[in-house]
Symmetry: C2
Subunit: 202 residues, 2 copies
């Protein structure tokens, strides 16, 4: 339904705003707007308020830069976490993914993205200096890079490794290979090539 003429400017505007969200087209936006119209008004108000509050009142942990309600996030403030390991992720979704595995007990560092010249994201746009400062402070024995396995992620990995060259710290990266449980035929050639090259002794 491209350039459809909506019978109301209020509806038109809501659809336009909703469809600016990633992955949501005008058809879906219209469905969502009509859904909100059909449900109780308090639902729309609660949704709108939660969006504004998140944007206006959000805070970030001053240590790991993860979204947090407090100056120091729960993970950084937890005395049971291993402070010698720092896992570098792109955003809070990275933190949630690694936490969900239950196998990592170190701290995090949220970069806020990856270096991407195409998107105009340079090292200065990320929390890279803060990461180097954390390592320079001492106490960190290993920095584990857990960025997206893309060209931008790899570029960022190499940049971080170079920036940390002078320090007594191990820099590692998540292994690349065949997904556990996946059929081999669905593995793309690049991943499979990598899995062959990085094969492990049984």
């Amino acid at each position: 339904m491209p350039n459809e003429k909506y019978p109301s400017r209020l509806l038109e505007r809501a659809v336009t705003e909703i469809s600016k969200l990633p992955g949501i087209g005008r058809r879906t936006a219209l469905r969502l707007a009509l859904h909100l119209l059909q449900t109780d008004a308090t639902r729309s108000h609660a949704l709108a308020e939660s969006i504004v509050k998140l944007r206006d009142e959000v805070r970030y942990c001053h240590k790991c830069h993860c979204i947090s309600d407090t100056d120091l996030c729960d993970i950084c403030a937890n005395p049971l976490r291993d402070t010698t390991q720092v896992c570098v992720v792109e955003n809070v979704r990275g933190v949630l993914s690694v936490e969900a595995t239950g196998v990592y007990h170190g701290l995090y560092h949220v970069l806020g993205g990856v270096i991407s010249p195409v998107d105009g994201v340079g090292p200065a746009d990320l929390t890279l200096d803060a990461l180097v400062a954390r390592v320079a402070e001492g106490g960190v024995k290993e920095v584990i890079m857990a960025l997206s396995p893309t060209m931008e992620g790899d570029t960022t990995n190499f940049y971080v490794a170079r920036r940390l060259e002078g320090f007594d710290v191990k820099v590692s990266v998540l292994s690349r290979g065949v997904s556990v449980g996946d059929d081999l035929e669905y593995t793309d050639e690049v991943t499979l090539s990598r899995a062959i090259a990085d094969r492990q002794a049984l």
Copy 2:
């Protein structure tokens, strides 16, 4: 990511509210919330305001019950439309779909849904009485039922036909059959059976 522990209650609340929208799970809601955090604050404010304004200030055409900014919508107010035909649709999406064909020049009547005992939607929850009143006023020669081709849609079709029995009005329904351009092998058995039964002379 079920029952994941978010590092911020603000984020948790926004994700919860966004994931109440139909077809949006917590994973997508988190992606949308983080997207809003990464973009300019005015984007979040514009989105929230458009949602609240739509819900609080929306009006409906007093004649066809479609969403409208005015008391009488543009279609009902258009003197070039054929007032002898009324196309009955579930919601504004039905109006947009039929308008997009460009072949219909009559008026509309937005029911606000279909009769669905399972969902607790009875005739009194829809604008059925208003439809009967429009027909009773005179001038309407044909009521075209353009509801979803589901059991609930059919139930509503039969209900409307019965309510309009005493009036001098033709009640018709959209034809059911094979989709134009679709491969026959992708047509479901019920639709194909119907298309065979309703076959037309060449």
